[in-house]
């Protein structure tokens, strides 16, 4: 017997165990070939068989070498529970099973001497989300007939851009009693109230990014839904920058300024203005952390778009060289507004935090009239890679922060002047329309979502720790990888189709929610339409409590 090595890693130490039934396996090899994490491998086992053929025992022994599939016992190649093996196995012979006794958080740190990183899924404690404790409770009855979701027209558009208070509108009254323009106003685009969130072309595979961009164009041109997509930090392919599809893209600039150089250089050859610019100050999934694109995902085309070598790309947590929020916003807004000759709205994205209302209050005073939107990003969302400790232990849920910002604007009589957009785990249960609708009632003009878009594309990750390997560049379904073989698992057309269909369904659902409360425009600020089944939630959000 070998000496016992208690510190050896076994599947029982890992978060997932691969259950394998050798009697069903035909050794086709599909599972091993498909496992992008190399978490299973073929192995030959030595077997001894004893048998007897006579009336009395006359044991005979036979030794044979049997090929089997077994789980890798390594903290590097551990099973993420993605279940791709199960998907490809023709015989139902293999599949991952969650291991509640995992020692992963301890042994990984001990053996690796490094912090655990993973794709951005938040494992928030608690089973019921705040949004699920809220219901749309004001149903029109006798005096307030509901609208007809099928028959009536609904205006499902949200502003992106700086909204002037009415007394500042550049109007004059003409002699025949009309209002005529008498000056310049900040640019405002009316867009669909759900933006495809900022996921960079480095974080996503080029096929995923292309699928989302295709869906955006299709939704605009064939379905009449003016959906916008945010590029994420990291630039945009030149071909797209020079195409007419640019008008559907919101260009993001984050602290690393990745890709921005190329955008600026391409400006003279742009035939369309972009839909907007989003300056990312912070993100919700890992607030305080910068962006993190690991070297294994920095493929050739990413290097050329961003102008970087193949190395870990760290976007610093703040915009370097700027001293304060006021200063940074002024500087950036002035320069980026100026870059597009004040034709393109510029918005800012910050992480939901105990301090985000102060930032918002600061912006609301905006003397230059250039803050085209306040994007507030809460935890419980996210797609990128991060240190697990930041993902799991920092940040702020979105619902109450959004509400705080809205009410801060109400107190100053400035609601709507800087449109509020919110994200962070919206659509987590699959019902984005319901979540978005409730957020609007609480004061959001619109929402943005990233993770759900990945789920539409076929992401198998979840909030219970399945997969979440976006950081590794080994995404088993080709969404967040730059490995050609893996990316080719994803069909961009299918991705586009799924996104388009989801948006069409969601559009229907919005109307189904708007009709009963008697709204034909988006229900921004209609907190009276909501009720909470939890007293604490009701009090905190200032909505009616019901039980």
């Amino acid at each position: 017997m070998e000496a016992m090595k208690v510190n050896d890693v076994t599947p029982n130490d890992l978060p997932w165990k691969v259950e394998y039934d050798a009697s069903r396996c035909t050794l086709c090899g599909s599972c091993v070939a498909a496992c992008s994490f190399r978490a299973i491998e073929p192995k030959v086992e030595r077997r001894r068989m004893i048998w007897s053929e006579s009336e009395f025992p006359e044991p005979k022994a036979r030794f044979s070498a049997v090929p089997v599939i077994r789980q890798a016992k390594s903290i590097r190649n551990y099973c993420r529970g993605c279940g791709i093996c199960e998907k490809v196995c023709p015989n139902d012979a293999i599949g991952p099973v969650r291991n509640p006794d995992t020692r992963h958080p301890v042994i990984t740190r001990c053996l690796g001497g490094d912090s655990i990183k993973r794709g951005g899924r938040k494992n928030l404690e608690g089973s019921v989300r705040t949004l699920d404790r809220i219901r749309v409770g004001r149903i029109s009855q006798m005096t307030d007939p509901s609208l007809d979701a099928q028959r009536h027209t609904f205006d499902l558009l949200a502003p992106f851009g700086r909204i002037l208070p009415p007394e500042q509108l550049a109007f004059r009254v003409t002699e025949d009693g009309r209002l005529a323009p008498s000056g310049q106003s900040p640019p405002v685009n009316w867009i669909y109230p759900v933006i495809i969130g900022d996921m960079s072309i480095g974080a996503l595979s080029w096929r995923m990014w292309e699928g989302a961009a295709m869906a955006t164009a299709y939704l605009n041109e064939e379905c009449g839904l003016p959906v916008r997509m945010c590029s994420g930090e990291g630039g945009v392919p030149e071909r797209l920058l020079k195409s007419r599809y640019l008008k559907y893209m919101i260009l993001q600039i984050a602290s690393g300024h990745f890709g921005w150089n190329r955008i600026v250089k391409t400006m003279p050859s742009m035939v369309e203005d972009p839909a907007g610019v989003l300056i990312k100050i912070g993100q919700g999934a890992k607030p305080g952390d910068g962006g993190l694109l690991q070297a294994q995902k920095v493929a050739g085309h990413i290097q050329s778009i961003r102008g970087v070598p193949k190395a870990d790309l760290l976007s610093p947590p703040n915009h370097q060289g700027l001293y304060s929020i006021e200063e940074s916003v002024q500087k950036m807004f002035l320069s980026f507004n100026a870059a597009f000759k004040f034709r393109v709205p510029v918005a800012i994205k910050v992480a939901a935090s105990a301090t985000s209302v102060s930032v918002f209050n600061n912006l609301v005073r905006d003397p230059y009239n250039i803050v085209g939107g306040f994007f507030l990003d809460g935890i419980d969302g996210g797609t990128g890679a991060a240190h697990e400790v930041s993902l799991d232990h920092t940040g702020h849920p979105i619902v109450s922060k959004l509400r705080d910002c809205y009410l801060a604007a109400v107190t100053q009589g400035r609601q709507g002047q800087i449109p509020l957009w919110a994200a962070g785990g919206l659509g987590k249960t699959g019902d984005l329309a319901a979540d978005a609708f409730k957020m609007m009632c609480l004061g959001a003009n619109g929402v943005f979502t990233g993770k759900l878009i990945l789920q539409m594309a076929g992401c198998v990750g979840n909030d219970m720790g399945r997969c979440n390997a976006c950081n590794t560049g080994l995404c088993p379904v080709g969404i967040t990888t730059q490995e050609s073989a893996l990316a080719h698992r994803l069909d961009p057309e299918k991705v586009a189709q799924n996104i388009v269909n989801y948006f069409l369904a969601m559009d229907q659902e919005f109307k189904k929610l708007m009709a009963p409360i008697g709204n034909s425009a988006l229900p921004v600020g209609r907190s009276d339409a909501l009720v909470a089944t939890d007293k604490a939630v009701a009090d905190r959000l200032q909505i009616q409590y019901v039980c």
């Binding site: 502003p159 109007f171 008697g518 921004v524």
Partner: protein, 368 residues
């Protein structure tokens, strides 16, 4: 459900006409109250058109307090009219001890002040009186404005009419524009202030139906103007929006409709003035009204108009004769007051129009 009505006439009219107009629609309301605002006054007020008249329902203490405040501010009373009340037993009315209509001269140092300064003073005085009397329920101050009186009470409109002797026409208490509603507010607390019509600085508005955007409207209006107060009823918001758009922003009346019921994006995009329409929609999204309602309004120059929510979920009809134009929730009201008119010229306003009656009683229809 509310029933509303308004009469604009060439000659001075007694409120009995308004009662009649509303009474025939009795099946449609709940007999819980009656309220009216009279503009362009005749009778005993006729010679005081430039001086503000206070409309007050109060206790003895309330009256004393109000008069003290006005005197202290330098106002001097030139006319007082106390309607003779009919306190028969069995009348369904929750009456206040005093109903007072008093006309005042401006304080000496204001006599040369500009119109605007006087108007701001009158609003401030009314608010001051209101808050002073509100403290311990000593009274209700409905209006303090030249050429306008307001009466509101809780109870059966028929009995309220009897109590104030309003069924018997006389030439003492008359006006050329009378708006009225039969019903107390039912959505929120029952208070006299909550009864329509509502009045502010020459503007009157009343509505039937509901304001789905009450919460949004209220949250926004609260910080817009000191006069936007109370919010006892969701329809009060219509008045404040009218006042804000027409008086504060100085936009022509057609834009009231563009604010409360913006054109759908699709339609607005096709218009030549789309930039203005979008700008309005952006800046004033919180004053939108999603209905269902019909609004009747009176402007400071006594112009009367009506308009509906964007989907026309509430009825309204305009009927006219040589010397009267009537707006009413139901046509039976008009039939009662103008039985001999040519009903073929009755107008049933569309959802995207404002029907305006000017001072020559010309009826105009403005497409949005």
């Amino acid at each position: 459900m509310c029933r509303i009505g308004a009469i604009k006439s060439v000659d001075y009219l007694h409120p009995s006409q308004a009662l009649l107009l509303m009474q025939s629609q009795q099946k449609g309301h709940d007999n819980s109250g009656f309220a009216m605002v009279m503009h362009d006054l005749g009778g005993i007020f006729k010679n005081y058109k430039n001086l503000p008249t206070l409309s007050l329902a109060c206790t003895d203490e309330g009256l004393k307090r109000a008069e003290d405040i006005l005197h202290e501010a330098g106002f001097s009373r030139v006319l007082q009219w106390v309607p003779e009340t009919n306190n028969e037993p069995g009348l369904d009315i929750i009456a206040m001890p005093n109903y007072v209509f008093e006309t005042f001269n401006y304080p000496r140092h204001y006599r040369k002040a500009s119109q605007k300064e006087k108007e701001e003073l009158l609003l401030d005085m009314r608010l001051k009186l209101r808050f002073a009397l509100e403290e311990d329920d000593q009274g209700f101050v409905y209006s303090f404005w030249p050429d306008v009186v307001t009466l509101k009470e809780i109870g059966n409109p028929k009995d309220i009419g009897t109590y104030f002797n309003l069924w018997e026409p006389d030439d003492q208490f008359t006006a050329k524009v009378i708006t009225a509603q039969c019903r107390q507010n039912t959505n929120y607390d029952i208070v006299r202030y909550a009864a329509h019509p509502f009045f502010l600085q020459g503007y009157t508005a009343l509505a039937n139906g509901e304001n789905t955007f009450y919460q949004k409207n209220k949250e926004f209006q609260r910080s817009l103007h000191r006069g936007y107060t109370g919010f006892e009823s969701d329809s009060q918001c219509f008045l404040y929006t009218l006042h804000y758009v027409h008086r504060e922003l100085g936009w022509p009346l057609p834009y009231f409709k563009h604010v409360v019921t913006p054109l759908p994006f699709e339609e607005a995009t096709r218009r030549e003035d789309r930039d203005q329409l979008f700008a309005i929609r952006q800046s004033l999204a919180h004053l939108e009204i999603n209905g269902p309602n019909t609004i009747i309004g009176v402007l400071p120059d006594n112009i009367l108009f009506t308009c509906c929510d964007a989907k026309k979920l509430r009825p309204v009809v305009v009927g006219r004769s040589e010397d009267k134009v009537i707006i009413s929730s139901e046509v039976c009201g008009i039939n009662e007051v103008l039985p001999d008119r040519n009903w073929e010229t009755d107008i049933y306003p569309h959802e995207r129009e404002i029907v305006v009656i000017d001072n020559e009683l010309e009826v105009q229809r403005w497409k949005q």
